[in-house]
Symmetry: C2
Amino acid sequence: METVKVGITETIRVLLEEKKFNTLRDILVTLKPYDIATIFEELQDEKTPLLFRILPKELAAETFVEMDDETQKLLIHGFSDTELKEVVDELFIDDVVDLVEEMPANVVKRILKQADKDTRKTVNELLKYPEDSAGSIMTTEYIVLRPEMTAEQSIKRIRRTGVDKETIYICYVTDDNSKLIGITSVKDLLLSDDDVIVSEIMEENVICVNTLDDQEKVAQMFSNYNFLALPVVDTENRLVGIVTIDDAIDVLQEEATEDIEKMAAVMPSDKPYMKTSVFGIYKKRIPWLLVLMLSATFTSAIISHFESALASVIVLSSFIPMITGTGGNAGSQASVSVIRALSLGEIKFCNAVKVLWKEFRVSILCGVTLAAANFIKLMIFDLNGKENALFIGLVVSLTLIGTIIMAKLIGSFLPMVAHKIGVDPAVMASPLITTICDALSLLIYFGIATTILHI
Amino acid sequence: METVKVGITETIRVLLEEKKFNTLRDILVTLKPYDIATIFEELQDEKTPLLFRILPKELAAETFVEMDDETQKLLIHGFSDTELKEVVDELFIDDVVDLVEEMPANVVKRILKQADKDTRKTVNELLKYPEDSAGSIMTTEYIVLRPEMTAEQSIKRIRRTGVDKETIYICYVTDDNSKLIGITSVKDLLLSDDDVIVSEIMEENVICVNTLDDQEKVAQMFSNYNFLALPVVDTENRLVGIVTIDDAIDVLQEEATEDIEKMAAVMPSDKPYMKTSVFGIYKKRIPWLLVLMLSATFTSAIISHFESALASVIVLSSFIPMITGTGGNAGSQASVSVIRALSLGEIKFCNAVKVLWKEFRVSILCGVTLAAANFIKLMIFDLNGKENALFIGLVVSLTLIGTIIMAKLIGSFLPMVAHKIGVDPAVMASPLITTICDALSLLIYFGIATTILHI
């Protein structure tokens, strides 16, 4: 029963220094690929190829897949051609494709040179699919059955050919033209009598995706339908690959991270935070910071425009951050709810009216509550005994109601528009909406203030 | 080849009115449980029990699991006791537990009355595990093998007992005391010779979780280790259940939604957006809005304190939203990066110094870039020809650098502290950090302004 042990990397480092290879092997084979990969990443040592050689072949390949680019590059650099060939031969096709996509050109050349002819051909074909498409994450190693086979024959075939398939549990039934006509599972095959034929037990209503479908859509289908694998077909309905659930989970995690980053005005990246350089992080953050800072020019311009009004009732300026802040918060609450519902497929643009009506009613409730709380607070604390207290309190409270209605409507509407026109709704989140709400809430504020206070 | 068809619900509604049950059955059996469940949810009709009766037993149970609470409640209400018993018998134990957790007391009573004695006992035991623990999402229906069995015997046992197991692909090997001593897979069993014994092929280094482990940690392990199922043991290492990958995916999706909601100052909920009432949404949003609005009192107080300084150089007030906005954006960028890295397990509190040093360097780069861009813009546009332009420009630009450094350090440090003391780091995100940054950036602004402009 193992979980990653803190400090094991240090033990490994010492043992490696002392060349205690047998002990190292004994330790490593008790660990899972993901944990061994973590140790390699933490070592970042020229001796890692030495350590890698200790691993049994299959474990070595499984560990290799779990490592980050840097560690993979370091290892390949230390490999002889034979060693590289051994690793590449053990990898599943989709992992070779991932590797080739991440490595620099000279390393790719070495990898493809070591791969056998068939692998090279398949990899080159898979590389043609656009990034983030179903084709780019699928594997071509799956079990194919024919409709006329019996359950017994099918199980025999699986036992014969299953060893290098990424999953044997879902089997695909094709006709003479490689068209997908059904799927079945090892469970159904095992639980059937030996002489039942595949076409009788296979599921004919197969849900499949096209090679060009977006990987996010594909991953979402796993979550809806509880699949272990999903077949990928070309435009003529010929089976060309499968996406397995482990890759789908990675996509779901990546997409959630991407959404979260976009919502916080960070340009999304594939690299983990700790692995990204300072300059890399800077490049991801500075564009939005610049855009948002410059667009705050509008708010400055609005305040400048009402400079004389402000100068006559200077206390008004002290409420500006509270009003813009509350508007921004109210807007991002609405936008985030809508963005998440959009990306989980719960709402579509055709629900826009329903969503807006819902947000309108929510904003009335929120607005009135906040305005009341604020009015009481202003009367008792901030404005107590000041000139015009009642009117100023009224201005601020009315502004709050208007601001919240405006913010929630904009916050829910913009993501739906973005979704409709094919832009990722997540970029419409907090910061952008905050900036728009800032400007509009100031206009509401000064509009109400100049009317009520006659300034 | 089916995907959900828009408008099919209408067709179903019409056919149901016309009592064309055979046609309805022909249509429904071509669809997947998730899609049929969606149709039921959209119908929300008193006739749904009628439609449900048309479904074949197994499909009916699978569909029932996919429905939301409301629709389930509506259906159970329309069920006879026999019908209810049929559905409950077909469900997996973990799905019965979910159902019992969601339904009101009187419905739960009916459900448990219909369940057979063993099921009722198991359900009651599972209900004792705390919400969000591994025990609460596990199922007790799995395949158990003994170490001395041969591969052939194992396959026979799977064929005999597999029909009501949630997964047959991963099998658990236990000793006489029900202690988990290894796992193996149908793949390994099928690919071995018939007379190989289980203890020779089983994996002994089993990763397992405890019944009380947090479900988020459990789900994250699926994503790291590519499991199909994960064994759950009690404190004495006895196997008590398994968590399957479909439930793990749901947890990952839920947790991502929860993180995103918390980051936008919305209290998390389990219900989908469109299914939540206006008042329900209001209740989730108003607490944070109130807290954040009242805490903006600090910013108002700071501005009031510097009222005379502002009155003497009124143009200073026009830059307040830009400065607080930029500070807020810079802070939430940092906090979101750190929060996501924390929840993916990439960083821990012990990395705090490394993270802060990284954020410090990023903030210097961002700060200088923004300050330079802002200074140029101020000189050319906003302050061109105004009194004291150079000094005011200097004040604003220096404030930007100070604000961004402060915001990024706070934004990255607070989530780590929260994580350390056991609070969810996500609540430290944008809105809370924005409010803190607002107040501090104003102090920096007025501090620099009063020094340089001698006001």
